[in-house]
């Protein structure tokens, strides 16, 4: 089987979620990559170096500059003439593009794949991860999105993919990019961090989040996260949100501080290797999944922990 993996990038580097998608695709067959964008030579070279990659299709065109699905889906559908499976990371970009490709191909997509069980059989979460479905496609071609935390990341070196330019591409003329507000952080990204420190509603304010959560994260070189309740209360921006409606994470260590552990939050972090919970309510559901639970007032315990760790 020949697979085509969507390379998610920021214009200069390949994003980590792509590497998990490469691993998933390699379980199906030969791995080809698609790098689309404007001025993407550097990305294409980096992509060619990913271990196990056979060919890198590079579509360099102004129309592909901002991942507009109206322009990109026809390009992918075209390339799928010579591939059997389209595999995209289940990021907001992947989720935006893949179903549009699937419908153009008249294929029913399989979303958020957790494991590859056979050539056409996969597991995926339903009901916010409260159930796992094993599903089998009957379509001639496959379109998949892959949950990044469910697969090992492919090595970024050792590959020698052949770069091939794709000349196709035009602007469908029905959509344009206006602008973006992307939070700049001098710390690891949530979805690839080894340690995450998350704060919840119990913090009470944005100031307390800065005062209590940030120093611990700084000391551990950790990413910052938050529960939906903390985001909705305005303590931190939305992109901090871990959970079913936010980011799905699986770090080595996850600190849940002042987070009660609503189902929607657990769905986003329960695959973390070690979960540490600090909460003054000993009946908080978070303690049912925590490896280490500390029943304490976070306003004294967390600064103490920060000082001693």
């Amino acid at each position: 089987m020949k697979t085509l993996v969507w390379v998610e990038h920021d214009g200069s580097a390949v994003k980590d979620a792509t590497l998990a998608a490469v691993t998933a695709a390699s379980k199906l067959g030969e791995v080809h990559l698609l790098v689309a964008g404007s001025g993407v030579d550097g990305v294409a070279n980096a992509a060619a170096g990913i271990a196990g990659v056979g060919k890198v299709h590079v579509a360099d065109n102004a129309a592909f500059g901002h991942n507009l699905p109206e322009n990109i889906a026809p390009l992918v559908a075209d390339l799928m003439g010579s591939h059997d499976a389209f595999v995209a990371p289940a990021t907001t970009t992947g989720k935006n593009i893949a179903p549009r490709v699937a419908a153009l191909l008249d294929v029913m997509q399989i979303s958020e794949v957790l494991s590859v069980e056979g050539p056409k059989t996969f597991t995926r979460p339903i009901y916010a991860g409260n159930a796992i479905a094993t599903v089998e496609s009957s379509d001639a071609k496959l379109v998949l999105t892959v949950r990044g935390t469910a697969f090992e990341k492919a090595a970024t070196s050792g590959g020698s993919g052949a770069i091939e330019a794709v000349s196709a591409g035009s602007d469908a003329g029905i959509s344009s990019f206006v602008g973006a507000e992307i939070a700049k952080q001098d710390r690891p990204e949530l979805t690839s961090a080894k340690i995450i420190v998350s704060g919840g509603r119990a913090l009470g304010s944005s100031e307390k989040y800065q005062e209590v959560i940030v120093p611990l994260a700084d000391k551990l070189g950790a990413a910052l996260g938050a529960s939906r309740a903390a985001v909705d209360a305005g303590y931190v921006p939305n992109d901090y949100q871990v959970g079913q409606t936010g980011k799905i994470v699986a770090p080595e260590v996850y600190f849940a501080i002042g987070i009660s552990g609503a189902i929607q939050h657990l769905a986003g972090m329960k695959d973390s290797k070690t979960i540490v919970a600090i909460n003054k309510d000993e009946d908080a559901p978070i303690f049912q999944v925590a490896d280490f639970g500390l029943v304490a007032d976070l306003f004294s315990a967390v600064p103490d922990l920060t000082a001693k760790i």
Binding site: R100, F177, G179, A180, E189, I195, N238, K308, I309
Partner: protein
């Protein structure tokens, strides 16, 4: 401008899903069912656009069993003008849903179709994008702000890392994210009024759509259970445990 709002009847989001013992799915017998929360946000957004004078008519559509009429009545009570139930007892996949909505869009000629970004049962997150592909319209997915301006709509999207704004030519597809708005509750008089609003019942065959599934569910199982670990007595013990794992500054 007419707005089409597809709505789905799903297990209420406050009910914990239980996997059936025979592994065929999630038990939906005798449990509370409600409108998919993301669809509710879609209905609310359509109503707000009507209140602003941008939209003139809101048509709610559902594909599902006879009981999905209740979900459509909720949309009508919130403020939709009329409803279409495409009645079927089969589970309809996003691709077939998109084909049905495409046929309805062809017949109704909406300026916008506003869908939830995903239904909280299947969590597919596909139908809106697929409908956009089939109609050839632009798509603004995971919307946190929608502004119609002449023959375009600006959609601010919740993306990994922040927000992004795109400008789309109308007609267009929008899918909602949680922060777009807070849906209203229907008032009692509006619930009464909704009972006399028009609700047409159709079938997938009326739209020439084959709803046979492309993806077979082999089995549905419980997720791996994570067991509780230990409670530590104080910060010192926690620090010791973390250091033993190699976690320190």
């Amino acid at each position: 401008m007419k707005i089409l709002v597809p709505v789905k009847r799903v297990l209420d989001y406050n009910v914990k899903p239980r996997v059936k013992a025979d592994g065929t799915g999630v038990d939906l017998a005798n449990v509370k069912m409600s409108m998919n929360p993301f669809d509710e946000i879609g209905v609310e957004e359509a109503i707000r656009l009507k209140e602003k004078g941008v939209a003139t008519e809101i048509v709610a559509v559902s594909v599902g069993p006879a009981k999905a009429q209740e979900t459509l009545r909720t949309a009508l009570a919130m403020g939709a003008d009329r409803a279409i139930l495409v009645q079927t007892d089969d589970e309809v996949e996003p691709l077939a849903l998109a084909k049905i909505f495409k046929a309805i869009a062809d017949a109704e000629g909406p300026g916008l179709v506003i869908l939830g970004k995903q239904a909280i049962d299947g969590d597919n997150n596909q139908t809106g994008q697929m409908l956009a592909a089939l109609t050839g319209w632009a798509q603004g997915t995971f919307a946190s702000a929608v502004n119609v301006d002449g023959d375009h709509v600006s959609v601010t999207r919740e993306v990994d890392g922040g927000l992004e704004t795109v400008k789309l030519k109308l007609p267009a597809i929008v899918t909602t994210d949680l922060r777009l708005n807070e849906p209203r509750y229907a008032s009692l008089p509006n619930i009464m009024k909704a009972k006399s609003k028009p609700l047409d019942v159709k079938s997938p065959a009326d739209y020439g759509v084959d709803t046979a599934p492309r993806v077979k569910t082999v089995k549905v199982s419980e997720p791996p259970v994570r067991s509780a670990g230990v409670k530590v007595a104080d910060v010192d013990e926690l620090v010791a445990k973390l250091k033993a794992m190699g976690v320190h500054s």
